[in-house]
Structures are given as C-alpha cells and as structure tokens.
Amino acid sequence: MSKENSEKSPVTSQSPEELSRRRFLEGLCIALASLCGVVIAVPAIGFIFAPLLQKYPQLWRSVGKVDEFKIGETVKVTFEDPSPLPWAGVTANTAAWLRRVSKTEFIAFAVNCSHLGCPVRWLGDANLFMCPCHGGVYYADGRVAAGPPPQPLSRYTVRIQNGEVQLQTRPIPIA
C-alpha cells in the first residue's frame, strides 16, 4: 500500500463505486454465512425436535393368560413400550394395574398419578390407590378420592385375544 493511501481515511477516500462494492461484499458475506447457518441449523433443530412430530404406533401387548388372574384382584402387570429403541434396556418397561372384574371383563389403569405422574400403589386391604409423592388417593375405580390429582387415573384399552389378556400401549398421560 502506498504511503499516501495509508495516511488517508480508508472510507471517506473511496469512490462511490468502491463503497457500493464494499456494501455488496458485506451483504454477500452476511448472506453466505446465514446460508451456512441455516443449512446446518435446520436439520439440527429438526433432529432435536423430531420426537414432537413422530407418530408412535400403539400396539397390543400380552400381559398374561386369562386364567392367571383372579376375579376381583388388582395386580401389577409389566409390558414393553411400542417400538422401543434397541438401547432402551429396562426403561422400555411399563407397568399397569390390572383388575379382573368378571370372567371376561378387565380394567387396566396407568400407574401414573394424574397429578404429576408419580407411580401410584395399590393398597388391597384399603381398596385404594395411593400416590407417594403428594398423597393423592384414588378409589378402586380410578376416581379421585382425595388430594391434589385433578382427574381420575387413565385407563388402558384391554382385550382378550386367544386366551391372552392384552393391553393397548399408550403414551404417558400428560395432564
């Protein structure tokens, strides 16, 4: 660079054409950088938020033979989530409270308290479900008996297929 140029102010000494060129280059840099940001950010954000858009199939899971369950008894059953990822391990398990009402009728309740999702326990002698977190209590039919739960226990759809009791999987109930 010549001594003359280095002594002059670089901006004010430029011609309108050079200023215009500078503006164009600034705009080009910002636009290209934004393009790079967008082509990386969009799939990245899509990847992170994909679970919100994904549709999960609700499958039927066998929890035991019909004859294994006594009429009037409420027992805990365990089954696997629909389409668990191979590395889910034991977190793919879900529990439910299953009651045989009659020879052919079953009710299944989600273990999640409708208040904040903690697992409710069945007290057989008391005929009540009770939540350890904030003392929510439900009657045997899942209705709220006491405490902060805003709604009854969620239920699973139950069917009998080929002598097996089956529950249709469902998402964790969100109030």
Partner: protein, 507 residues
Amino acid sequence: MLRTAKAIWNWVDDRLGLSETLGPLAKHAVPKDAKWWYVFGSATLLAFIVQVVTGVVLAFSYIPSPSQAYQTLQFITNEAAFGRFMRGLHYYGASAMILMVGAHMAQVFLFGSYKFPREMSWVTGVLLLGFTLLMGFTGQLLRWDQTAVWSVVVAAEQAGRFPLFGNAFAHFVLGGETVGGATLGRFFAIHVFLVPAGIFAFVGLHLMLVMRHGISEPPKVGEPVDPKTYRKKYQELLKKNGCPFWPDAAWRDIVFGTVMVLCLVLLAWFFGPPELGKPPDPSIIRADPRPDWYLLWYFAVLALMPDWMERYFMVLGPMFAGLLIIMLPFFFGKGERSPIRRPWAIAGVIMVVLTIGSFWYVGAKTPWSPNFDAPPLPVNVVGMETGPVADGARLFHAKGCLNCHLIETFGGRRGPNLSNVGAKLSRSDIIIRIVNGGHNMPAYGNNLTPDQLNALVAFLQSRKKALVTLPGTTSQTIASSSSVARETFGSKLHRYWSTTYRASGGN
C-alpha cells in the same frame, strides 16, 4: 537448566503474547478495600472448573445409554480406581457451585454492585444462576436410577402444564411419548454440551464486563451512584486507593478457593457420592422421587401450594421470578449502595434465606407424603390385644389410615395427628368423617362393613390418653405424651389428686 527454561518461556511468550495480553488483565486495578466479601464469584468459577474436570473424567467411563448408564455408574462407584471419589467430588462440587453462586448473588445485591454501570454483569449473572440450577437438575437425571426416571416423568408432567404447546414440551422432555431409549441422551447433551457452552460463553461475557467496569468498591453511606459522575469518581478512587488484582487481591480468592476445594475433597473422600437408587425400570413402582438437596425447597413449594394455583405457578412462577430478578438494576440502577441505607435489601435477603431454608427443611421431611412403611400399631400403644379396640387398630393399619395419620409416633403426617382424637371429636363426628372423607381424605363409606366401622370408631374413641400406671394406684390414664409436655406441674398435681380422691370414694 533454569536459563534454558527461561529462554523457552520467553520464546513462547513472544509468539503467543501471553504476558502482553494476560498481564494487564491479571494486574488490573481493583479497590484496595475489596476484600473477603468479594471471593464468592471466583469460588463459583472454581467450583465450575472442578465440575468440568471431574465431569470429563467421569465421561471416560460413563455411557449415556439408558440400558447401560446405571451399570457404568455402579462400575465407577464400586470398581474403578478413584471412581467413588470422582463421583463424590462431582456431587459436592455441584453443591458448592450452587451455594457459592447464591452467596455471590447475595453479596452483589447487598453491596448494590448491580447498579450503574454494572447492570449487564447482573443480567449475565442471573442467567448463569439459571444455568447452574439447570445443571444441578440435569446432573441428577444422569445418575439414571429409579429416582431419575420418575423425576423425568414429573418434569414432563410439569412441562405439560404449559398452555398451548404443553404436550409438545412434555414429549420433548421425554424424547417421545414415554421414558425410553431417547430420554437419557438428550439430558446428557444438555448437561455436557449445551448448558456448559452457555456457561462458558456467559462467564466469558461476565468476566469481560468485570474488566470493563472494574470490581465495584465497597459501598459507603452517603455516596449514592450518579451515572453522570460515577465513572470519573471510580477512576479517581482506583488511582488513589487501587492495587493490582494479582496478587494483592487475588490471594484472598486463592485462599478461599483452596479451603473450598479441600472441603470438597474431604467430603468426597469420607462420605462419597449419593447412593444409587434402584435400577431405572419404570415398572418398579415402589418409588419416591426426590430432587437433590439444592432443589428440595422448590419441591416443597410445589407440594405445599394450593391446588388451584399449581397450573399457573408451575409455568409462570419461575418466569416471573426470573424476570423480576433480571429487571432489578433497571428499576434500582441509581442511588445509595450501602445496605445501611437500604434496609429493604437486608430484609429481602433475610426473607429469601429464611423462606428457602424453611422450604428446604420441610422438603426434607415431606410431611405431605404418606408413610407406606408404617408398621402395625404395637400392643402397648393400642392398649388391648383383643376386642373391638384391637380390631379397630388392625383395621386402622390395613385400611391405610396409618399411612396418613399419626398415632403417638407411628404413622404418617399427611393428615391430622389422631393420638388424641377421642377427646376432640364425638362418636358421630368420627363416623361422619370416616364415611364421608374430606378434601385430603377418601370416603370410606363403601369400603367398610358396619362391624369394621364400629371397630374403627371404638379404636379412635380410645385415643384420648396413653395408658400408664401411677405409683400407689391401679392403672390410671394420664394425658398423651404430647399434651403432658404442655401441661403445667400444678395441673398435673391437681389431676393426680382428683383421680386419687375419686378412686378412694371421695373420702
């Protein structure tokens, strides 16, 4: 040898410009009077560095896979060399970071250091506080035991309370519709990458602002902050009464930091990390999820607030609280800094400490949780082995009443203490309450046969006094232990003599 080392250092320093860049930063002028109250910020940073180092070390063995994380933690805790120590250091380091950030915030608030021109230091600091609490929460989840799994479910339920997009938020937290293979990974990414990146960025900004505006001088009564004159006054103060940060002020930070690190080392070595709970199997439902101690106060707040407030508070509470705190310097950016002239500031800090402290205490006790481990009442409490009272006592346990009510020292605290209910309620009152229940009590009307109800009532009516034998008399009853504590000597004497008088036939 020394000459060679010096020559190497000179070469490196010349090429990297370390002395030129870092030297002025390290030796920037600070007020001489800024002493021991000013160490908490650097202590927080040091705790964070401990977390980063121990976190990286743990990551050498920890596998963030839902099927393996628990086993890797068992390996780290029980088999890996210094594994238990590293986990302990990481846990106590988290506690230290939260304690120090709170102390630092309190000190800055009380000294009015958030006022002009350091408003943005306060704003970046509040954001760092939020990041720190988020790290504490997500870190507990990475333990990936039973408590962690159910804590995620509870967090998702709270996220679900957001209006409009609550469901989507809940599914984002879970990584799907249930806890599963996708859940742990996102908390690992948040805890190890996202939030630490935020912390690094905002700590950098926070320190840059310290360099720009300087360390605030200790406040003096009668010297309010005036934006028109403050900067000039501050520069004059530094010229007259300043000293280089390194080593004249930094030595206190180093001493305090060393004490803190030694405490962490001792705690980690002798007490170790928190025990791992049961495996992260959502089908194991005998669970009682609790946050680590630093979030117990918030856990208690959520448990104790009225039901109608819950939905609004869960969403709006943290938002409003954060906004209020961040906006502080924009409302009170000028004027007196000295806490002596700001008694509301002192009252505010005391109130916050007492409030959070009280909620911590209650959060540790959790009186709102039923006691599922209450054993059947022993004979010496019931007073009978057979008959309706004894039957009633057995029913009181079997029907779950003891889970929520205390009889003497047995049972839960969810509901009222019934040790003396026979003296307070009539038979019909007791029956009405058992049959109809209340807001926090189920109605047992359809759950009891008439004989069972009678036995229960008989038992509860017998809950007036504990059975003891007074010297020189037949078996007498005196007040239960809780009311004895409150009874005066005079009334005890009166009761004894009047009982003896009646027993002797009034002669």
